[in-house]
């Protein structure tokens, strides 16, 4: 097999800093290579460099950087324009921001066709419909006339892939092509990419997700701090990783087999897990509708019931729009259900108002997906915790000590008090968010996608942290996630939601090993698994 793309000793720097430090790899015809790494590993900047979009102020050096025998380092901008889109297709991560919001989807593809093919206007219109059909967009004629926001996330990503293949490129570079997608949609997009590969095109996939990669790639290159630490056939790297970093990455992925074990390699605190205690939240037949922009009421949550006991973790899984977050907000007392009731420690949200309601709020706290957005941007860590402790009626003179105690509980210390959230890493921010949630000594913490925005090794630390905190304090978690592996690892019981309804609920083991509802089966079948390699 001949190499379509050959990279030898590639170095990329911005100013004095080096972000990619001498990497070498090649992509052969009809092959898929995956570059895998965590944020800051240099994988995305590598991808951008391969299409000549490294960015301002970057210095790119390489012993060899050739595409189909041509030296890419010597290309001028106008030469790049012939290659980009025409011979190398580029698929970006988030289709919502990568597609022009004011331009119809068909127009987006038309632009590529006009630039790289000699087709007439009429022939292009036919080709657009063909391309959309080829990437599995139903009703391509209609969809081509729609705007990006009128399409679902999955369809948008397909449309973006259609623009990338419109110029019949030999090589497709995809930067996190499925990261923003629901698991069933992700499975469809992966199938589509696999189909493109079978058409003798070459693929370079950039991803943080080893499981996604294992389903598609022939070979994997694992990146860390600008270097490739390990490279080889996918089954070899995943089954018998040679490098410690690859091993720790693989060990950190939460899934069925990691249940009850530590993900981050740190020891568990002493003591047994507590058995589930009294009921702390009872949600009884809640229903909630929202009126859409068209004035039609849509039921976001329908007849949902569950209970949560002390020291227990109940997961809610479902895809976007399934009603998970609305259910969480109802449990938090931030949204009033149209009917049904929520009891917290025996008191119903609907029965308390004013001061009593605010007091009741202390017993149900929340940790959000994006910790940075959940802090007032003007506040330091000290102020964030001070406010939470003040609400919990801790006297002023004891608050600092309590704040330090809380930070220590989440693996930080007093040195972090004067910092601003912006100056902390993603994992540290989420730790501060957990500390704040613990400040009023709640009985329940609602975790709304608490690890979805984190790298796998940081995710592992936060999941372990949540486990530690539960062992120490006996707090109950309502754990919302779209990631079934995370839910399987972290939860005792699980609710599967679809279109606002709970289609199945029960102990995690039962639901995941012998799912009864067809939708649950579909979800579980769609999980990318490492063992598929």
């Amino acid at each position: 097999m001949t190499a379509v793309l050959r990279v030898e000793n590639l170095r990329i720097g911005f100013g004095a800093g080096t972000v990619v430090d001498g990497i070498s790899f090649e992509v052969r015809r009809g092959e898929c290579l995956a570059l895998v790494g965590e944020s800051g590993s240099g994988k995305s900047v590598t991808a951008r460099t391969l299409v000549g979009l490294t960015g301002d102020g970057a210095t790119v050096r390489a012993d060899a950087l050739t595409f189909d025998g041509r030296d890419l380092t010597r290309l001028r901008e106008r030469d790049w324009r012939a290659i980009r889109g025409g011979r190398i297709g580029f698929v970006l991560q988030d289709a919502l921001v990568s597609l022009d919001p004011l331009r119809r989807v068909g127009k987006e593809i038309d632009e590529v066709l006009a630039a790289h093919t000699p087709l007439s206007r009429r022939a292009r219109a036919e080709r657009i419909a063909e391309l959309l059909a080829q990437v599995g967009v139903p009703e391509p004629g209609l969809r081509a006339r729609q705007l990006p926001h009128e399409l679902s996330g999955g369809l948008r990503q397909r449309a973006l892939i259609a623009t990338a293949i419109a110029g019949e490129p030999e090589l497709i570079i995809a930067d996190e092509p499925t990261t923003a997608l629901d698991v069933t949609v992700q499975a469809q997009v992966l199938d589509l990419l696999a189909k493109l590969k079978s058409e003798d095109r070459s693929l370079l996939i950039i991803s943080h997700d080893l499981a996604v990669v294992s389903r598609l790639a022939d070979r994997v290159a694992v990146m860390k701090d600008g270097r490739i630490v390990e490279q080889g056939p996918v089954h070899q790297v995943l089954r018998a990783p040679a490098h410690d970093y690859t091993r720790s990455l693989l060990a950190a992925i939460p899934a069925e087999h990691t249940k009850g074990t530590r993900l981050s390699g740190t020891p568990a605190p002493p003591g047994e897990r507590r058995p589930p205690g009294d009921v702390v939240i009872r949600v009884d037949a809640v229903t909630k509708s929202f009126r859409g922009p068209d004035g039609v009421a849509r039921q976001a949550v329908r007849d949902v019931s569950f209970t949560l006991r002390a020291a227990e973790t109940v997961g809610i899984v479902g895809e976007s729009g399934s009603g998970k977050t609305t259910t969480a907000r109802i449990a938090l007392g931030l949204t009033e259900p149209d009917s049904g009731s929520v009891q917290v420690g025996g008191q119903a949200w609907s029965e308390v108002t004013g001061r009593d309601r605010r007091a009741l709020r202390r017993s149900v706290q929340v940790v959000y997906q994006d910790p940075l957005a959940s802090f007032d941007p003007r506040y330091t860590v000290a102020k964030v915790l001070d406010e939470a402790l003040a609400v919990a009626a801790v006297p002023r003179e004891r608050r600092r000590d309590r704040a330090v105690e809380l930070l220590e509980l989440v693996g930080l210390d007093a040195r972090h008090l004067p910092r601003r959230p912006l100056q902390l890493s993603g994992g540290q921010r989420q730790r501060v968010a957990v500390a704040r949630a613990l400040a009023p000594r709640p009985a329940v913490i609602v975790c709304d996608e608490p690890v979805s925005a984190l790298d796998v090794s940081v995710q592992a630390q936060v999941l372990d942290l949540l486990d530690d905190v539960q062992r120490r304090t006996g707090v109950a978690y309502l754990f919302i996630s779209h990631d079934l592996g995370v839910v399987h690892h972290a939860c005792d019981r699980v609710l599967v939601m679809k279109d606002g309804q709970v289609v199945e609920q029960g102990p995690v083991e039962t639901v995941f090993t012998s799912p009864e509802h067809p939708y649950t089966r579909e979800l579980i079948a769609a999980i990318p698994r490492l063992t598929a390699a």
């Binding site: 931030l334 007091a359 709020r361 929340v366 994006d370 007032d376 406010e387 939470a388 919990a392």
Partner: protein, 269 residues
């Protein structure tokens, strides 16, 4: 503080001098701005009168120095009124129900439909002239601008995760507004306001020029310009220097304001 362009430093220095002149004009000139000397009217700049004299023989330099206080007061005072009024109305509109929001926003639409100066003139027609009335008039005329921006900020902050997090902690509604919504909604507007100061200052001078602001013989840049107009062919210095003072002040405030804005957006220039 590295990487700040010399122009910004210069503008900041001018502002410091202006504030000093406003607080203690005596430090900058030994002459009385109101002292009439009928023997020396409309004298060109000389060692004795640095920037010449006016039609009553008063020293133009010391009148400019003593006029700084009024001019800066007009600029900053008017914007302070606009900020407080616009901030309150904007937050109210952003948080209120449909009726409150509609009322405030339609009123502000009406206000925005008229030029600021025209609105100020209406206020002065009702309330009468003078420095303080001019200040209030310009401030009120600027309220709609700020109310709009603050409302838009409030709308987005109100839906932000950190405000929801504060509610979830159990903070009361008014406390959330005071601690989280108000400061974050007003912060970007504060920077906008530094640029507004220049415009308000010009508006104040314009009102004085029309004879509706600071009454003579009190020194004020705008009213000096107004009288200088009659002698422009015989005494260029009388009009040019107060005009230059206004221009320099507005440019300095705007340069510093622009720098603050860029910095707050994470860009530096």
């Amino acid at each position: 503080m590295k990487g700040i362009r010399p122009g910004v430093w210069l503008a900041a220095l001018v502002l410091v001098l202006l504030v000093a002149a406003a607080l203690a004009p005596h430090l900058f000139t030994g002459q009385d701005p109101l002292a009439v000397d009928s023997a020396r009217t409309l004298q060109p700049p000389s060692a004795e009168h640095l920037l010449g004299t006016d039609e009553n023989g008063r020293d133009v330099y010391s009148r400019i120095v003593f006029g700084t206080r009024t001019s800066l007061l007009l600029g900053f005072g008017a914007i302070a009124i606009a900020l407080v009024g616009g901030g309150l109305l904007g937050v109210l509109a952003g948080l209120g129900n449909r009726f409150v929001e509609g009322l405030i926003m339609r009123l502000s639409d009406v206000g925005l439909a008229f030029p600021e100066l025209l609105l100020a003139l209406v206020v002065i027609t009702v309330a009468g002239g003078g420095t303080w009335n001019a200040l209030v008039a310009i401030g009120v005329a600027n309220i709609p601008n700020y109310a709009r921006v603050v409302r838009a900020q409030t709308l987005s902050i109100r839906r932000s995760t950190y405000v929801e997090a504060a509610h979830a902690l159990g903070l009361s509604g008014p406390r959330v507004v005071l601690r989280h919504v108000l400061p974050n909604a007003v912060k970007p507007v504060l920077i906008l306001a530094t640029i507004g100061v220049g415009t308000a200052l010009v508006a104040g001078s314009a009102l004085s020029f029309l004879g509706l602001g600071t009454p003579p013989p009190e020194p004020e840049w705008g009213s000096m310009l107004s009288t200088a107009r009659n002698f422009i062919s015989r005494a260029w210095w009388y009009g040019v220097f107060p005009g230059a003072a206004i221009t320099l002040t507005v440019i300095s405030v705007t340069v510093v304001g622009r720098w603050l804005r860029l910095r707050s957006e994470g860009r530096t220039s």
